[in-house]
């Protein structure tokens, strides 16, 4: 007889019957009854009314019955908290049972009963189980600490369970170690700044030893934990890598991916000229390729990650193109991902093969796949110049098939090819025009219209073609309407005599009949331009367009770095930072790759640079929704922006903006507590005039004032050496390196512009994207003389903090656009937060005390500053140079406690307590702030200042 019979009783009065059976004297009958209860529970019936009767069965020596009752408890305890107490006694008793299976079962179930009242009764049994002689019980108890922490974090901390858990990392049993690591990592995730894991070379060594012995899952916990460690130097990094590489041979794909994550991260610290670095690169390729023979879902995860790895280190898989060829029976999601990677790996060496494959795919039946394949052909043309001609002819062949969606995709990509290679392939226009009627998708129509407008002088019947579109103007999508407007204006400027009527028609359609503001405004601008100064109109509308860059869809570098740290996880599958899809992770510190080995060296690996420009990772074109997108829209782009898809829709940034990130940054003096509000209001009066007022908001005048007054200031503020921000190879020969400084209350961006191209550069301009603290150039970029080849010019750009504010990730990220006569270039850099520490940041003692108490403890973050050999006075002087003010000093039992305050340009106060023990080179720093996001960055400044 099987268990399925329990599902069949559905008579009326069933609950009543069950109640009787549960209270039966016969053990067998009892067990049968509990099984029936569980069966009802499984199919979703409410059997909570039987709670007391089921709990009565708990005291049994039958293991199966006990398990069933426990299962019932887990499900219903929450809805019956008062009755759940009844079970506590049995739990406590079971935790001392002779049989370790029962002890473990009890401790495992206890943690799953999420009833607050019960938790305190669980502490004693849990404490015993954590020290149990049987490893099976210990490993179960380790996980139980994480469960309990999830229900009542304070209790776990008060009871000292965290320390016991940390001790378990040194347990003799590998499975216990693995579960302890997993539990600690889980707890640490909800306490981003707690130094919970406290990884040091000794613990790392223990973990690496356990790694060899535990189960596959344990290995993953340990590897994921290792990935969050930051080795002290490249030697340590190498030795960890050496001990992790054997995991690449594990049969479980998840172990392999976690090992890849550790290696990708720690590799960053290895010098590139090291032999071992090359060896490691070679070792990574084969396991990645093997992942493609796993189950399709695992293949999908692997492919999404390979996509990241290929962008970060293209050299690893550059010879492995063939393995990404699509198989007929691959699921569609695998096919699409493979296609993406094929394009990324396409190079002059393999382009012939790739094209042959893509052409094959373009004749398949799956519409989405075919579309993507056609687009891929276009992207190859743009990426590998030598193949452009072949790509174009392939596309023409495909257009001849007359398959509707193939034709439309082909036209969209041909438009891009025209942008990349102007005046080269226009002979195909005639073929394109033949297919005008079959275009029914907005993107394809818009592309076709753009082509007609752009090459109006070579298309005899351009006016007829465009006129035909005009008939249904109001039914078109905005994209098409805008394109049509621009195209007809272009046509008019090229052939004014025959097309006057047409242009008037479209202008009136756009300005009078349309209620779309974009369209109307563009219409008016054209109208006015045409009516006031046709010559200027010609210059504006027919201006030469910047060439489009060779690669699109690259992930922005800082995001890429973060995603590399999340290899194998959902973030790497979505290609989004965890903060974008996990609730409550906003305050969590973003993971970063360790600092690159040899910081002076350029950011590209040398072998990529040598392999020719076609393979070099080119500059990122901001894709739709990218923050940089709205920079482009401001005024740097030519007015005939031919990429209407660049909409200022900011996905992630905007969400943060609304989600309260901004509030916490600005909140200090807008709606904050009185003690904080006093800061800004009272400061100018209290401070001596020579120190100048804070350039807090719109500090143009204040800045000037400061310039005079600030000369007498202690000039101790640390300025980092310049680093390369923009590589010449990514910016058509313009190299930019720079650093930030705060001199006498003025924030300055020191830039070195180097012209590595062959021609003279002029017309420099700079602009910042919105950023967390509203940094913006306070004046134009002063490059007055043209920059001739091989010349370097140093400029200091004063910055204000009155620009538009938007929270960035990381907080101190700054996205910059620099324009010259050649093109617009984008890069992002990070500034030390000390830039924003204002001169009047010394808080009154009383206010300090009150504020310290007022800020909740959750906002406190603790850090270690290691290897500082300064006494407290020297340290305090040094810090004062960077506007970190010591308010009070206390000496207790050989410890110096320094109380310090810092004020940011936007009025946020940061309070700090620094503990210095005589003879101990490690300082302990506690930082409290109402906007806890800034704490890690303030800590960075402390480190920088004290170490330099």
């Amino acid at each position: 007889m099987t268990d399925s019979k329990y599902f069949t009783t559905t008579k009326k009065g069933e609950i009543f019957e069950l109640k009787a059976e549960l209270n039966s004297d016969k053990k067998e009958k009892k067990k049968e009854a509990v099984k029936k209860v569980i069966a009802s529970m499984t199919v979703g019936k409410d059997v909570s009314a039987l709670f007391p009767d089921v709990v009565n069965c708990m005291q049994t020596d039958n293991l199966e019955l006990k398990k069933l009752v426990y299962l019932y408890l887990m499900n219903y305890a929450k809805s019956q908290p008062d009755m759940a107490i009844m079970a506590v006694n049995t739990f406590v008793k079971d935790c001392e049972d002779l049989n370790p299976l029962i002890r473990a079962l009890a401790v495992r179930t206890m943690g799953c009963i999420r009833v607050d009242k019960i938790t305190e009764y669980l502490c004693e049994p849990l404490r015993k189980c954590l020290k149990d002689e049987d490893p099976y019980v210990r490993k179960t108890a380790a996980v139980c600490v994480a469960k309990l922490h999830d229900i009542n974090a304070q209790l776990v901390e008060d009871q000292g369970f965290l320390d016991t858990l940390k001790d378990l990392i040194s347990d003799s049993n590998p499975m216990v170690v693995a579960n302890a690591v997993a539990a600690l990592s889980e707890i640490a995730e909800s306490h981003p700044n707690s130094n919970l894991l406290d990884l040091n070379p000794q613990t790392i060594n223990k973990l690496l030893t356990a790694l060899n012995e535990c189960t596959e899952w344990g290995q993953i916990f340990i590897l994921d934990c290792l990935a969050s460690y930051l080795p002290r130097d490249d030697r340590e990094s190498q030795s960890i890598c050496e001990r992790v590489t054997p995991r690449l041979s594990h049969a479980n794909s998840a172990v392999v991916l976690s090992a890849v994550k550790v290696l990708m991260k720690f590799m960053e610290m290895l010098p590139k000229d090291l032999d071992y670095y090359g060896t490691l690169l070679k070792k990574l390729a084969p396991p990645l390729v093997t992942l493609l023979s796993a189950e399709p879902e695992l293949q999908y995860v692997a492919l999404r990650n390979i996509n990241l790895i290929v962008q970060k280190r293209p050299e690893i898989l550059k010879h492995e193109m063939k393995v990404f060829f699509v198989k007929y029976n691959d699921p569609i999601y695998v096919k699409l991902e493979k296609l993406d990677i094929m394009i990324r790996l396409a190079s002059q060496a393999n382009i012939a093969q790739v094209l042959a494959e893509l052409k094959e795919y373009a004749t398949e039946v799956d519409v989405d796949f075919v579309r993507k394949a056609v687009r891929a052909i276009g992207r190859c043309a743009i990426k590998v110049e030598q193949s452009a001609e072949r790509c174009v002819s392939t596309l023409l062949d495909l257009i001849q098939t007359k398959v509707n969606y193939v034709v439309q995709e082909a036209i969209v990509v041909i438009k891009d090819i025209f942008r990349k290679y102007p005046n080269k392939y226009e002979s195909v226009i005639a073929t394109l025009c033949e297919n005008l009627d079959s275009l029914d998708e907005p993107e394809a129509r818009a592309a076709m219209i753009w082509i007609v407008g752009e090459y109006a002088e070579r298309i005899d019947n351009a006016d007829e073609l465009l006129e035909s579109f005009l008939e249904g103007f109001h039914d078109e999508s905005t994209q098409v309407q805008l394109q049509l407007l621009t195209a007809i204006v272009k046509l008019f400027l090229k052939k004014p005599t025959e097309t006057q009527e047409l242009v008037q028609q479209v202008l009136s359609l756009a300005t009078q009949d349309s209620d779309n503001p974009d369209l109307r405004d563009r219409g008016y601008i054209y109208w006015r331009l045409l009516s006031t100064d046709p010559v200027a109109a010609k210059e504006v509308v027919l201006a030469e367009k910047p060439l489009i860059s060779e690669e699109t869809d690259l992930i922005e570098p800082t995001l890429l770095e973060e995603l590399i740290c999340h290899i194998g996880t959902l973030a790497s599958v979505y290609h989004k930072p965890p903060s974008a899809f996990v609730e409550g992770s906003r305050g969590v510190q973003h993971k970063r790759l360790p600092p690159r080995a040899g910081s002076g060296e350029s950011t590209e690996s040398p072998d990529v640079g040598q392999s020719g420009p076609s393979e070099a990772p080119p500059a990122v074109i901001p894709s739709q929704g990218d923050l940089l997108g709205d920079l482009l829209n401001l005024d740097l782009a030519p007015p005939t922006a031919t990429v209407p898809s660049v909409q200022p829709s900011m996905q992630m940034g905007a969400m943060d903006l609304l989600g309260g990130g901004l509030d916490s940054l600005l909140g200090g003096d807008i709606g904050g507590s009185p003690s904080m509000g006093a800061g800004l209001g009272a400061a100018p009066a209290a401070m001596p005039a020579s120190l100048g007022s804070a350039p807090a908001v719109g500090g143009g005048l204040g800045d000037l004032f400061d310039l005079g007054g600030g000369v007498g200031m202690p000039t101790g503020s640390y300025v980092a050496p310049k680093t390369v921000w923009l590589l010449a190879m990514k910016a058509k020969g313009l190299e930019i390196s720079g650093t930030f400084a705060r001199r006498g209350g003025i924030i300055q961006m020191d830039l070195s512009l180097t012209n590595k191209a062959m021609s003279v550069m002029t017309d420099f301009a700079i602009q910042f994207n919105r950023n967390s603290f509203g940094l913006a150039p306070a004046g134009p970029l002063q490059v007055l003389t043209p920059l001739s080849p091989n010349q370097t010019i140093d400029v200091s750009l004063p910055l204000s903090t009155s620009g538009p504010v938007m929270k960035m990730e990381p907080l101190n990220n700054l996205q910059v656009a620099v324009k010259n006569n050649i093109d617009v270039f984008y890069f992002s850099c990070q500034y030390p937060l000390s830039l924003l520490f204002v001169e009047d940041g010394k808080m009154d003692r009383q206010v300090f005390l009150a504020t310290w108490k007022d800020i909740p403890n959750d906002n406190e973050a603790q850090f270690q500053i290691k290897d500082i050999h300064l006494n407290s006075d020297v340290a305090s002087n040094k810090l004062q140079g960077s506007n970190i003010f010591t308010i009070a000093k206390r000496t207790v039992e050989g410890q110096d406690m320094l109380y310090q305050s810092v004020k940011l340009t936007n009025g946020i106060w940061v309070l700090a307590e620094m503990r210095i023990q005589t003879g101990n080179p490690n300082y302990t720093l506690s930082i409290k702030c109402r906007a806890p996001e800034v704490c890690p960055f303030v800590y960075q400044c402390y480190e920088l200042v004290l170490k330099n």
Partner: protein, 433 residues
């Protein structure tokens, strides 16, 4: 690395209304983060994506993410609202299928309902608070048994294996006759373009063990030098290089990394000791040339020539050559030089089977189909020709087992047996039409 729930669902098809819905067969909540009713969104998303033909193994609704796999008509779904380790989740779901299959022979709706108590027990033991625990079904079977345990202290001790460093083998195993069977199996994957050029080819090899040894034996596997050089990546001395080697949990990876010795304590019974991948240009062992001529509205003529490109002494067994035909074809006629051909209309295939195919031989098959005069408007894909075969006593890579040393403290004599076989893996040849 955390998931909240594991659900096992089934798809219910209402044949009358042509709609399908889903039903939760069993579920287990590991954490309290996600509400159980969220699973309803999974159904909706799944149906939506199925309609659009854009299925994806990860789906999300709000901040709940669903990671799922399908096993026959069951869906195994894990939910999470954190940045979980996705590869771990999928590995675990597949492990779940493996464990259930070993317990119940077949994982299907009935076996779950028939054994729901054991399923609950297993779910409890396999994962705790979202962390996978012991998943080795041989070890699990020692303390989670079908009949339900009576509490006799002796029987229900935790097997030490669960937490041991050797978590895959129990102590005290006894065999009358001590033997190990070693199978070396190589699968050939080939992708050939319509114009006859080999786009990609590789060998996926696997060494499988069937261990019937007493006690806790220490085994050391010796391979021929050619192979060992390949393992070390020493390209000077060999023409083959192993791209990647994967080992069973039991092989000491750090030992292999340092001196290339494959040493291990084997799991009992059947297991895969190692697998490897060789990326080499092997000549496709069975070469196919095909001419498929389609005369619209009248007929299709197919000519397939198969050539055995392997040693004359060897024979390929159970060869099956599957040739695609249009879905509206009918009235098949075949002519074959050897073997026999069969039309499988539900798969739109002609299957040409040849019992034994000696090396160096060339065989021929012709097929003729009629096409209806009214053309089928649906565009059809162009499935490739696929080939299945087995060649015993032969490996493409030349791998050989030189020795298998078996040392057990009781000092018994044990016999190793070795077999070699080469078979087709993913063997595809694209066609012109």
């Amino acid at each position: 690395m955390i998931n909240d729930y594991i659900f096992i669902l089934k798809a219910v098809c209402h044949t009358l209304t042509q709609t399908s819905s889903h039903q939760v067969l069993i579920c287990r909540n590991y954490k309290g983060d996600v509400d159980m009713s969220e699973i309803d969104h999974f159904f909706t998303l799944l149906m939506q994506q199925e309609e659009e033909g854009l299925l994806c193994p990860v789906m999300s609704h709000g901040n709940v993410h669903f990671l799922w796999i399908k096993h026959s008509n069951l869906y195994l779904v894990a939910t999470t609202n954190k940045n979980s380790n996705a590869s771990l989740v999928y590995s675990f779901l597949y492990k779940l299928v493996e464990v259930f299959t070993e317990y119940f022979k077949e994982l299907e709706e009935e076996s779950i309902q028939d054994n729901f108590v054991v399923v609950y027990e297993l779910l409890d033991e396999l994962m705790d608070f979202g962390f996978p625990q012991t998943t080795d079904s041989k070890i699990l079977q020692e303390y989670i048994t079908q009949q339900g345990n009576k509490l006799e202290v002796a029987k229900t001790k935790v097997p030490t294996t669960v937490t041991n460093a050797v978590s895959w083998r129990s102590e005290g195993i006894r065999y009358k006759k001590n033997e190990v069977f070693i199978d070396v199996i190589e699968s050939i994957n080939v992708l050939v373009n319509a114009n006859g050029s080999v786009m990609s080819s590789d060998i996926v090899g696997s060494i499988k063990l069937k261990t019937m040894l007493s006690g806790m034996p220490e085994l050391r596997l010796g391979l021929n030098d050619r192979m060992l050089f390949a393992l070390t990546g020493d390209k000077g001395k060999t023409t083959v290089t192993m791209e990647d080697v994967k080992f069973h949990q039991c092989v000491r990876l750090s030992r292999f990394e340092s001196d290339r010795t494959i040493s291990f304590i084997p799991p009992d019974g059947e297991s895969e000791l190692m697998s490897y991948r060789i990326n080499t240009h092997v000549k496709p062992l069975i070469w196919i040339e095909s001419v498929i001529e389609k005369f619209s509205h009248s007929r299709v003529e197919i000519m397939v020539k198969a050539k055995g490109q392997f040693k004359k002494q060897s024979v390929a067994n159970n060869v099956e050559i599957r040739v695609p035909v249009p879905s509206d074809a009918d009235s098949p006629k075949f002519k074959t030089s050897t073997g026999h051909a069969k039309y499988v209309p539900e798969k739109n295939l002609v299957v040409w089977s040849i019992k034994s195919f000696p090396g160096g031989k060339e065989l021929l098959m012709r097929a003729h189909f009629c096409l209806p005069s009214v053309e089928n408007h649906e565009t059809e894909g162009r499935p490739p020709i696929t080939v299945k075969f087995e060649i015993p006593y032969f490996t493409v890579s030349g791998i050989q087992v030189r020795y298998m040393k078996i040392i057990e403290k009781s000092g018994y004599q044990a016999l190793p047996w070795v077999r070699y076989i080469t078979q087709s893996g993913d063997y595809q040849l694209r066609t012109n039409t």
